[in-house]
Symmetry: C3
């Protein structure tokens, strides 16, 4: 009974048109050109590396795409259990009519060629968007991105601010800020003006969110202008070797100022909480970050209280923080749950975390899912994974356990999966 | 198979007579007078506020009950997914024959009037108790409660001690203590005598437990009499502006003294661990508290070792602490698991937490559930939620996975749900 | 459907031959002699004590085995819900044809006598190994174990190092080290030589792993030779009353040196992370340890980076650390998930934790299970518990949710349950 119910619910959820509220798509090259763009996704390179493929083999400079794929495929067998591998095979099946259950050293070239042929079509990007039922795709833009050359209604800009908050002690970042804004800030007021310019530029170009990822020990706090000016001077002089307090003060001042501009410009501020960068220094590109799960949303207490007019869509890296997220979204009007991030983006954690949210957070305050993808082809299998879990939860915990009708359950699914994303970020 | 098995087990569990070992019932007004007493429960006001209803609309002074209900109902739609909403609808169905799946702006008046009519019956309180199969209801009494004017076998007093431990630096609290005991303590010995008077008063009036809620950073420790006397003097002089060490010493001295009197008077000491008060200062009444889930029962190590003769029924606020609770109850003879508290009182957390307890904690050391209610009408839907989850666990994890008979499974359910509560607290 | 599928998968998994990669078996007395050796397992004594049996009754010196069993059986009823009790009853059924659902004061003597008769057979050890399908059993050897008098292919030595890292400030431990190695180390170089001797002795005698259990606050770090020499001198002089820094430095120096020798000798280094010893001082033997679940694998960051050539099979005590473990094994090539330890070795935590690993950690990097047993009879029911959970996960999450064939699912089960253990530890 439950199996067929899940199937029916999934089929309905799978027919919905989607907006993907967080990705790393390059709007100038959104779709893959070869299978190397797919297998080069850090999930495959890092897992293959973890299972034994040397980093040098994967990251050899000037590697031909076909050879790169051959090398990664040689390390795929140990990953065949992972959900990430299932994304790959579902994508191969749906987009490239590849029916094999696994990609092996004896069959990968067939997929490589089939994919290359399809990807060469001038409308491949559109084909992928259409087949994936994607109406809009949020980007992750550097603060100095010109935001030119693409349709910002399809590819929605998002101001990513990690560099400003955590790396303003680097000369290169300050120079980029100056170049982007025409301001070389020497005090808090100047820094504030420069940041304001970024918000003007971004919102003028259709940006619908500001975003940042935060390490576990970050606790937002205001920094007064005098202290910020002093700290900025110290950082301007000594760069990354400035004292820790000054570097911290600059970062916190920038962060708080971002929140102020989110209030002024009406932008939601996506917080992605809990990542430690470069924990495994010997890892592959984008495969070095891990975390300390001892983090609490209490660290954002002052922030949430101070900015009631800013919506904070929150992602947490570890499932052990999910109950706090559900509870804070249940209490704070400006806190919204947002997707299933990275190390928590696997079915058993999604099931645990989404079930907790669906039964205690107002249905209007949940953004069910984003793909976090680098190439368009990944939206389909990643959203499909989520929708299967959602169908399971709706079937088991709402229709069966709570006696809901299928229609009511689907309405809930539709709201968290589609409607809320559009409403909260203000996209069509 | 599993579905019908769950149904059968639920039906049996649902026929049991209950003692509710923790509530906030006012024994002089235990049942609701209008639907405003139901919808005024903080779960509805805080969730409606979180989803957009202004606090001022909900908490306007002198608001007519009917108008208050109208305003909260206007904010209910976004909560229709929550388990809290399902409590409301189950209550409406069972007590007021209201068959609609949701309470809306077009049907709420019908429920309001139906409820008002029923609630006006002189024996409404008894009707609710009978229909809910409640034999006894534990209270949460201020330390200076006269405990007069009600049947203490039906409404069992419980000495709640948060004010004494955390707010003795307030003049008002010290004055209440003096008024209640005739003692204005100027040193540790006097404070001890005053607390002893409270225990005498409470146990003489049928109290069966002492209780307190603790913030995540509280680690019980003894304070010697000299230090406590000095601290009390400092607090007596400067009140809430006394130094932090003195205020902490007074609190810890009181806490430890409470445990000593629990030993002397044979009262279990309920610890409710992990809440931070007033995190969201702009929240509605009773809708401001949240938590930092980074708490450990190791903080109570000295307490549990020092008081082997005191039973500590422990509630934890966050599900991530549940495994520690199960482990500590598995090892310490004086630690007992107690219910599913507040932010963990939703089906998916209950399922996760109760399953872990049922398979590793001695069956005699588990108090399955309490309602935490403010009005009697809530016991029925809250216990029903718990019993459905318990039936699911017993069906899936005991009858199916471990081959238990239904009778054995029910005996386990009966023990944790009914027998243990009565035995541990010593009620009939 | 799912039920029968689980049965079929379990039957296949249950037919596999096993190597048990972590136990506390005494190879000179591997099997039980009487039922007292079974009921004396700390799970029964500590749970019975927690449920009311006085420690003195259990641990009375010179207690006759039959009387000891009688006393523990008198406290078993409150444990009949626990999974530990189910191990006992499965063992009784399989090995001793005891068909009762519970062990009671009226039937235990029948089991005692039946067990005594079977255990008296000269080949009882072999009968148990054969019935349990055990090819190899890893030991936990003190560093000064002579490793003589047993077949090290059947009982595989493992160098347990807690004493060296945490108790070298004790005279007795330093004397044992001197006796075992002929070296009374007076500086870092000497200590290093002594430890090297232990590795030579152990690997010459077939050791396949080094192992240690770590408290939650332990963060491995290198200590330079000069500091280590100074610290060793301080500890040599003052023993356990040496200053904390010296004692810490000695411990960390030893730990880091162990990792260096693991690299040199090609031994995996099992880390069992998170236990606090003697939290409940009044507990029974081996029933005093608990934990603070606030621990993170980030504490091992430097260790994992510094020793890429050492394989670290990691066990975590609390389920809340399992996601970190899965993530670190997903990223670090040298981190491997290892079993379900102690307080996490119950079905609901195993289900939660194993599911997360199986869907995100390379299948080659998971050691599914070890028994942690003290007597051979426990391998069968403990592995059976695990295999039932594994069958459930494979059925529900792979065959049903992901469309895998039963053969594929079984191949995954076989790999994590059998093949990886043999390959990672290098046993036949």
């Amino acid at each position: 009974m439950s199996q067929q119910l899940r199937q029916r619910l999934f089929a309905e959820l799978d027919s919905l048109r989607l907006t993907d509220p967080h990705t790393h798509i390059n709007p100038l090259a959104p779709a893959a050109k070869t299978l190397a763009d797919i297998l080069g996704y850090h999930y495959y390179t890092e897992l293959a590396h973890s299972a034994g493929v040397p980093r040098e083999a994967i990251e050899e400079p000037g590697l031909d795409p076909r050879e790169k794929v051959r090398r990664i495929v040689s390390g795929l067998a140990p990953l065949s259990n992972t959900i990430q591998h299932s994304w790959l095979m579902e994508m191969a099946r749906v987009f490239f009519d590849f029916q094999e259950p696994r990609l092996t050293e004896s069959n990968w070239e067939r997929l490589y060629d089939a994919a290359a042929a399809k990807m060469a079509a001038p409308d491949w990007e559109n084909q992928v968007l259409k087949r994936s039922k994607l109406d809009g795709v949020f980007l992750t833009n550097d603060f100095d991105d010109p935001l030119a050359g693409f349709d910002t209604r399809r590819y929605v800009p998002c101001l990513r601010t990690d560099d400003l908050v955590f790396h303003l002690d680097k000369d290169a970042v300050r120079q980029r800020l100056e170049k982007a804004t025409g301001i070389a800030p020497s005090d808090a007021a100047g820094l504030r003006r420069a940041i304001g310019k970024l918000f003007e530029h971004f919102t003028r170009n259709g940006a619908k969110a500001c975003a940042i990822s935060l390490p576990p020990d970050f606790s937002p706090r205001p920094v007064d202008a005098a202290a910020a000016s002093r700290a900025l001077a110290a950082v301007g002089k000594a760069g990354a070797s400035a004292d820790a307090q000054s570097r911290s003060d600059v970062g916190h001042f920038v962060f708080w100022t971002l929140a102020e501009f989110c209030a002024e410009f009406g932008l939601p501020f996506d917080l992605m909480i809990g990542v430690n960068r470069a924990v495994y220094a010997g890892g592959v590109f984008q495969g070095q970050d891990l975390y300390d799960s001892r983090v609490s949303l209490i660290q954002c207490r002052e922030l949430f209280n101070h900015f009631p007019q800013v919506t904070f869509p929150i992602s947490v890296l570890a499932s052990v923080t999910n109950q706090e997220l559900a509870s804070y979204a249940w209490i704070f009007p400006n806190v919204v749950t947002n997707g299933h991030w990275w190390y928590s983006n696997t079915p058993s954690f999604i099931e645990h975390d989404a079930a907790a949210r669906l039964e205690a957070v107002p249905r209007t305050k949940q953004i069910a899912y984003y793909s976090d993808m680098y190439k368009l082809e990944f939206a389909l299998p990643k959203f499909a994974m989520y929708k299967r879990v959602l169908a399971k939860i709706l079937a088991e915990r709402f229709v069966i356990d709570r006696g809901w009708s299928e229609e009511e359950a689907l309405a809930l699914g539709r709201q968290v999966l589609c409607d809320n994303t559009r409403r909260i970020f203000g996209v069509a």
